[in-house]
């Protein structure tokens, strides 16, 4: 019992640790080991005190929860004892933590409220497995279900898949090496290895993740758009908004990025997730990136936190993040906060940036109903050139050249089409809000993927102190999507720039690209990219990728088909074992009959146990005769069968099973997978 329990706990630990890509291995080890040790303690206690044996599941459950509370929720305990808060946290672990995990970027922060569901699942799998240890092949199932669940969260692949399969196969082999289940060792281990090798064949990246198909965006709080506050803030210019200090110059901080425009309002995308331990650069950024950091102290209240385009991690607060815009959101913030922000910045030279194309993967946002004259203005501003980054710079220069930044008390407000039409065609005077919004709509008209960001410009850093950002620094700016570089901010209002020392590296590169731009009348249309040979119309699927997928699907089908037979048999045996009285004895006979039939005995409907003994292998004859004697009494004597008779019948079945276990491996394998 003890050895099998050890193997079972090992088999339950493996799927628990398979959540490592989500939480990190270090965060998982302690709670998983704690619940398994608790289960072991429960088993040991019941072995020593047989009176406790009926309560073993409850004991394991209680000890597991106590251990988990001590390890993961020490702050909820009172002198080491669990409290109501601890119970609430555990209940939330059952109900909410897995959902919170799906709402977060991965790897998630190793916080108990997110992590708890993993050790709880391991606890359940171990408990169920221990109670099913009488049938080792069935006892594997809970851990197998947990493996499936962990793989649904994030499927391991590559070398890790093979290693995990080996580990799990070793644990399962240990568990099944008892005499009763020895026949299932080889197929189970083989299947684990096949699954592992199949996972390894898929390549190094995550093969599948529930997060991809079941992404759970966090609820967006109701808050005023920072864009509508631009004029208000400008009217109270000296109020401190936040301060920052860091090693690298920063020329602007974003609060929110607005993509959708219906002609009246600009709205941000609703794609916020909880920010986990950290996130890497977006996959569409192919140029080298450098990591920077700064410490920010944000005064006042409000949900939006200053951020950069590609945030990597935040320490000090646990915000929501929109990975595509970089916006950070702290829905519950009610006062000043201080945090350290790390972010990625692309490193690109001016020539390359200037010659870059625009991303074709980005779907430009809406425009609403474009007023007459605006489309002509857009074509005039860009000289009818094809949309490239140069065209984007030309448009920026056009706005800078032809329009004036409004200053003073009577500042224009609004960025809907009425205000933009006035700005573009009549007043030609506006704040950064109108400049940015006008740039985005004009860019979208000529096919440049653009979006509107709202935040603050950073003033020149004082010597030896933090940079203090005030209301007067509020700024809206457009961003265009450049292939391989990501979203590049532009400044059509010319309000962000100071001298080079106050500019961020990307802004400096953009300024250099802007400076090297030829005059608009001599702007060459960049050459078209060479036609790709693979552009011919095909059947619509990628054969080299399809083949391994189809192979994997077939393999999975085969595995299911092969596994289904022993699993169904195990369930059938389990159900038979639960029968009592005469039905229990007959169930034992049916089990023996099916066992022998699987081993090739010629069974017919008219056979009795004695008939079967006459044609079966000599090694099982004694067991069959004992079974026949029990059947005779149970069925025909009129006395029925008691618990002892049922036990004796199943004892005969075990004897038959032991006799069959001495057959050659090949014959036993065939019997395990025989349909009947």
């Amino acid at each position: 019992m003890r050895t099998r329990t050890c193997w079972l706990l090992a088999a339950s630990a493996v799927p628990g640790l398979l959540f490592a890509p989500v939480f990190g291995l270090r965060a998982l080890v302690l709670p998983v080991v704690a619940v398994l040790v608790a289960c072991w303690a429960a088993v040991e206690l019941c072995e020593r005190l047989p009176a406790l044996r009926p309560a073993r599941p409850a004991l394991a459950f209680l000890l597991g929860l106590l251990a988990l509370t001590g390890v993961s929720l020490p702050h909820t305990t009172f002198h080491g004892l669990p409290t109501v808060d601890g119970v609430r946290a555990l209940v939330a672990g059952f109900t909410d933590s897995w959902q919170l995990t799906l709402q977060s970027t991965w790897p998630v922060r190793p916080e108990p409220e997110l992590l708890l569901f993993v050790p709880l699942l391991v606890l359940f799998a171990a408990m169920a497995g221990i109670e099913l240890l009488r049938w080792p092949a069935v006892a594997v199932l809970p851990s197998l279900v947990l493996v499936a669940l962990s793989q649904a969260f994030v499927a391991v692949s590559g070398v890790w898949a093979a290693l995990v399969a080996l580990g799990y196969a070793a644990a399962v082999a240990g568990l099944l090496s008892s005499r009763a289940a020895r026949g299932a060792v080889v197929p189970t281990v083989a299947l684990c290895l096949v699954a592992g090798v199949a996972g390894a064949a898929l390549g190094p990246g995550p093969a599948f993740s529930l997060r991809d198909s079941r992404s759970a965006p966090a609820a967006l709080p109701r808050a005023a758009s920072p864009l509508s506050e631009v004029a208000t803030r400008l009217s109270n210019p000296d109020e401190v908004v936040f301060s920052h200090s860091g090693g690298v110059p920063v020329d602007r901080w974003r609060l929110v990025v607005l993509e959708d425009f219906d002609g009246v309002t600009w709205t941000p995308p609703d794609r916020y997730h909880r920010l986990g331990v950290g996130i890497g650069p977006p996959p569409e950024v192919t140029v080298p990136t450098a990591a920077h950091s700064a410490r920010l102290t944000v005064a006042g209240s409000g949900p939006w936190l200053p951020s950069q385009a590609m945030p990597a991690a935040v320490d000090g607060v646990a915000p929501l993040v929109d990975r595509t815009t970089g916006a950070l959101l702290a829905p519950d913030r009610a006062g000043p906060v201080e945090y350290e922000l790390r972010w990625w910045a692309p490193e690109v030279d001016p020539e390359r940036l200037r010659d870059s194309g625009l991303s074709t993967d980005v779907v430009p946002g809406g425009l609403g109903i474009v007023p007459p004259g605006v489309a002509d203005l857009a074509r005039t501003a860009t000289g009818g050139a094809r949309p490239t980054f140069r065209t984007a710079l030309v448009l920026e220069q056009y706005l800078s050249r032809e329009y004036r930044v409004a200053t003073g008390a009577d500042l224009p407000t609004g960025s809907g089409w009425p205000q933009l039409r006035d700005f573009l065609l009549e007043t030609r005077r506006g704040t950064s809000e109108q400049f940015a919004a006008a740039y985005v709509v004009l860019a979208r008209i000529v096919g440049i993927p653009a979006r509107l960001a709202v935040g603050y410009r950073a003033p020149r850093p004082p010597a030896g102190g933090p940079v203090v950002v005030r209301n007067r620094d509020v700024l809206a700016w457009p961003e265009v999507a450049v292939t391989g570089v990501g979203w590049v901010p532009l400044d059509p209002a010319g309000a962000a720039g100071g001298d080079d020392s106050a500019r961020s590296p990307l802004e400096r590169v953009t300024a250099a690209a802007r400076a090297g731009l030829p005059p608009p009348d001599r702007l060459p249309d960049p050459p078209l990219p060479p036609p790709t040979t693979s552009a011919e119309p095909g059947p619509g699927f990628d054969l080299p990728r399809l083949v391994p997928l189809v192979g994997l699907g077939l393999l999975a089908l085969l595995a299911v088909a092969v596994l289904a037979v022993p699993v169904v048999k195990a369930v059938r045996t389990w159900r038979r074992r639960r029968l009592t009285g005469t039905r229990g004895v007959v169930a034992a006979w049916c089990e023996a009959r099916d066992l022998l039939r699987a081993h090739g005995a010629p069974v017919t409907p008219g056979m009795t146990a004695r008939d079967l003994a006459a044609v079966a292998d000599r090694s099982v004859v004694d067991g069959l005769h004992r079974l026949a004697a029990g059947l005779d009494v149970a069925l025909w004597s009129g006395a029925g069968a008691g618990g002892g008779d049922v036990a004796a019948a199943w004892s005969a079945v075990r004897e038959i099973r032991r006799a069959l276990a001495r057959r050659p491996v090949g014959a036993r394998l065939r019997a395990v997978f025989a349909v009947r």
Binding site: R576, L579, T582, R583, G584, V585, V586, A587, C590, T604, P605, G606, M607, T608, R610, D611, A628, D632, V633, A634, L635, W636, S637, G638, A639, G640
Partner: protein, 321 residues
């Protein structure tokens, strides 16, 4: 339910031990023969010469402490030799009944197929009626009354095959079969040692046997088994190769024989194995196959074996297992 041997079981043990002093290597045949005795049924032992048919019949007859007669059937045997005749006595000036060979507890009808149909009919009538009527006077045969007939299935010249309707009167038809090598060695040794069937002592007296027979009649049989036996018999009537299947008398015989067999095992209840074990001896001789089946060398035993394999055995009160 007791597992102690019943009184009938003890009786069987005594008879079997006695018979097997002479008839070696045939415990199953001996058991079936005693089962027929317990069931008050008559026995037809059929096989080639030299396999111990007559010896078995003689041993069985000698083991029972009642009277026994041996009638050697020949073509010139008359019905009166079987049943008995009225003889006029001059002294008493009356007809006195002289009982024939059937007036014994155990009647050994040797080579019954050598008798004429008329003679055979006389015996078969006594077997079913258990009495003889001569000149309108009824004479009951002693109880228990067991006829053990033997016949030789080969050398058909000069024989009169028993009609199927009359075969039905026999509870069982047994075939001795050739003994195994070991059994044959034992037969030779016992022959050399001079164990004569006629020297066997009677090991069971008539009252004891009658008590055992009464006990066998009360042997428990589950309704599911009765249904199984009826299903088996009915299936013989629907089988494609069978022209005439077993009659309801066959079903009754199946149950009675199974009860007898259960008693030989010392049990107070019949099991499905009992029915299956007596199915061939009880049913084989009651089936008349189609000419086509006979041309295909198919026998009644094949039919019964096929039905035994195909008809699901009952599991009383255990549905769903």
């Amino acid at each position: 339910m007791t597992t102690q041997p019943t009184r009938a079981g003890e009786v069987y043990e005594r008879i079997a031990a006695n018979v097997q002093r002479v008839v070696r290597g045939k415990p199953d045949v001996v058991r079936l023969a005693v089962a027929a005795l317990f069931s008050e049924g008559h026995l037809l032992i059929e096989d080639v010469p030299g396999l111990g048919k007559t010896t078995l019949a003689r041993c069985l007859a000698r083991s029972i402490g009642g009277t026994w007669n041996r009638i050697q059937f020949t073509p010139d045997l008359l019905p009166g030799d079987i049943t008995g005749v009225q003889v006029y006595h001059q002294h008493g000036e009356e007809f006195v009944f002289h009982p024939g060979g059937v007036f014994a507890n155990v009647v050994l009808a040797d080579e019954i197929n050598r008798g004429t149909p008329k003679t055979q009919s006389a015996l078969l009538e006594v077997m079913s009626e258990q009495r003889v009527t001569v000149d309108a006077v009824r004479h009951d045969v002693p109880r228990p009354f067991l006829v053990i007939a033997t016949q030789n299935p080969i050398e058909m010249a000069g024989t009169y095959r028993l009609p199927e309707a009359q075969l039905d009167r026999f509870l069982m038809r047994l075939r001795m079969g050739y003994p195994s090598l070991e059994a044959e060695v034992m037969v030779i040794i016992s022959d050399r040692a001079g164990v004569d069937p006629d020297e066997l002592p009677a090991v069971v007296d008539i009252p004891t046997l009658q008590t055992a027979v009464a006990e066998v009649r009360g042997t428990r049989i589950d309704t599911a088994l009765v249904r199984y036996a009826a299903t088996l018999t009915a299936a013989t009537r629907q089988y494609a190769d069978v022209r005439y299947g077993a009659s309801p008398r066959g079903s009754i015989a199946l149950i009675r024989a199974a009860q007898g067999l259960a008693a030989t095992h010392g049990r107070e209840y019949v099991t499905v194995d009992d029915i299956k074990q007596v199915a061939h001896p009880v049913l084989d001789h009651r089936l008349i196959l189609t000419p086509d089946a006979e041309l295909r060398q198919r026998g009644a035993a094949d039919v019964v074996a096929d039905l035994l394999a195909k008809i699901p055995v009952p599991v009383a009160g255990a549905a769903g297992a």
